[in-house]
Amino acid sequence: MRGGGAFTVLLALAAGIALTFLALPIVALFTEVPLRRVPDLLRDPAVRDAIAVTVRTNAIANVLIVVVGTPVGYLLATRAFRGRTLAITLVELPLVLPPAVAGIGLLAAFGAGGLVGTRLNEAGIVIPFTQWAVVLAVTFVASPFYVRQAITAFEGVDRSLVDAARTLGASPARTFARISLPLATAGLLAGWVLAFARGVGEFGATIVFAGNVKGETQTLTLAIYEQLDANFDLALAIGILLVVLSGSVLLSYKMLSSWRRSSSTSPAPFARTSSMSG
């Protein structure tokens, strides 16, 4: 690089500080507990229960998010109707809502004596402090990550391709399945990665709405919280597990997106790994 020496030093300094700050907690996780003890620690029944709860609840929540969120994203991206802006705002609300508020809101809605909770109770359905409460909490806080990305992905599909499919005799449903969906896949996948990461990391709404019951509603993040006083090394080990999970999800997404970049029209939510060429 030519010229602007002092300015470049300033930029490098800022980058150095930021990167150190971001890397420090991750490095600390791996250095504060001897790594060879981690497999043993993770065999603890409390951890195994938490893994089971996390996997089960997140699997259901992710299916709900993708199955319901995809058509919602398509509708909001492709149709103009009254109240569309309001609908999008509502979809985005959980992004900025404090998770604890989401938790208490869910409690007020589905809890005993709540808005719909009373009726559910009469029908013999109890949601708060069960695994279904975890599922609802995760779905509530994580869905906007997917739906927002789905809207962007569907908006990115060239409108004339959809029109072309229609004039070629394809019904709206077939056009969606054969044109819009395949072309939006990369964007949808990116949205799902974000939603998945947010769901696995869910804490605030879950602890308020579902409590922290071991083997029932205690997810990995809640287990970290419980083990802070009881067994700090165990908490660290769970932390390592989650870092590895998040890291590999992000990395596999990036590899996937660079692999299929050529055939996709969706914008990428993460920076591309090889964008510095030229």
């Binding site: 004339s160 029109d163 005799g169 055939s263």
Partner: protein, 314 residues
């Protein structure tokens, strides 16, 4: 044919069912696709129409064969690819094709359903100048073989002359004139049509002559004669290929001549367009060379009264 923003594409979209007009009726023969009064509005997939989009709108995630075979009831895909000379591209993706190849694929895709009508939206505008001529010729051959009602939208008069039997000139959503190319040139209805078909239009004031025809005092000060009669404010429309270039004022009486310095000399193929003021004439390149035409030289543009058509005020 019309300038951009005239509503050409909107007409095609309305016919294809991608846009509902406020009023009117669209039918192919006895098959009514749209009728505002009768509340008929068939969806695009229920209209027997093939639409070729301006940028071709090929599906990027499908091979050429699957693009062409996408249409409901698409038959004889490989035979069609063969006929359009793109069989060797069957397994390629659109991203790897040239503009001319894409155009053929889009055409094949629109034809695969055996539609009752074919719509082409600016079929040549996405191409660069040197592929344009060959694709135009190819399209001409294909359309001639098809014997299918075809509606082509273009802003280029040359595309219209090459491809169309009848031309409608549309401006601001209204049809100004519908006629054959020859008829458009012979009797342009107004100044816009005359200009759009390549003509010069000069403003002036007309006075009918007792001997027939009219005399027009042009805004530039010259008086010209027209074989057509007219009165008051008019436009005099003349086509470049009907105007001769001379280096001396014509001796013959009864012909029109507008003299002045040559402002522009634009070669176009084996022709040269010579501009004097607002008026453009076209002559053979060899003729231009023989006359020794140069920018700034004095020249006379000569045309007969029958080449000075009177149109509505410019």
């Amino acid at each position: 044919m019309g300038p951009s923003g005239a509503g050409k594409t909107t007409v095609l979209r309305a016919i294809a069912g991608l846009r509902a007009p406020d009023r009117g009726r669209i039918a192919l023969g006895d098959d009514v696709w749209f009728d505002a009064a009768a509340k008929v509005d068939r969806p695009p997939e229920a209209r027997s129409v093939g639409l070729v989009f301006q940028e071709y709108a090929l599906f990027p995630h499908m091979t050429v064969r699957r693009n062409v075979g996408f249409g409901a009831g698409a038959t004889g895909v490989d035979a069609l690819l063969q006929r359009l000379g793109i069989a060797h591209l069957a397994d390629e993706r659109p991203g790897h094709l040239s503009g001319g190849e894409r155009q053929r694929v889009a055409l094949a895709r629109a034809l695969a359903r055996e539609p009752g009508a074919l719509l082409l939206d600016e079929p040549l505008s996405a191409l660069d100048a040197h592929t344009r001529a060959s694709v135009r010729a190819h399209l001409q051959d294909v359309l001639a073989q098809l014997a299918l009602p075809t509606l082509i939208v273009t802003h280029d008069f040359r595309d219209a002359t090459a491809l169309a039997d009848r031309v409608g000139v549309i401006v601001d959503g209204r049809l100004r004139q519908v006629a054959t190319v020859a008829e458009l040139v012979r009797h342009p209805r107004d100044a816009f049509v005359a200009r759009f078909t390549g003509g010069n239009v000069l403003g002036g004031d007309a006075r009918p002559l007792a001997t027939g025809g009219a005399e027009v005092l042009l805004d530039g000060g010259t008086t010209v004669r027209s074989a057509e009669t007219g009165k008051g404010r008019v436009g005099v429309a003349g086509y470049p290929w009907e105007i001769e270039v001379a280096t001396a004022p014509p001796a013959a009486n009864g012909v029109n001549a507008i003299g002045g310095a040559i402002d522009g000399l634009d070669p176009e193929g084996d022709r040269v367009r010579v501009r004097v003021g607002e008026l453009v004439a076209e002559c053979d390149a060899r003729e231009a060379e023989r006359l020794g035409l140069r920018r700034g030289d004095r020249a006379w543009l000569v045309f007969g009264p029958e080449s000075a058509r009177l149109v509505g005020a410019a």
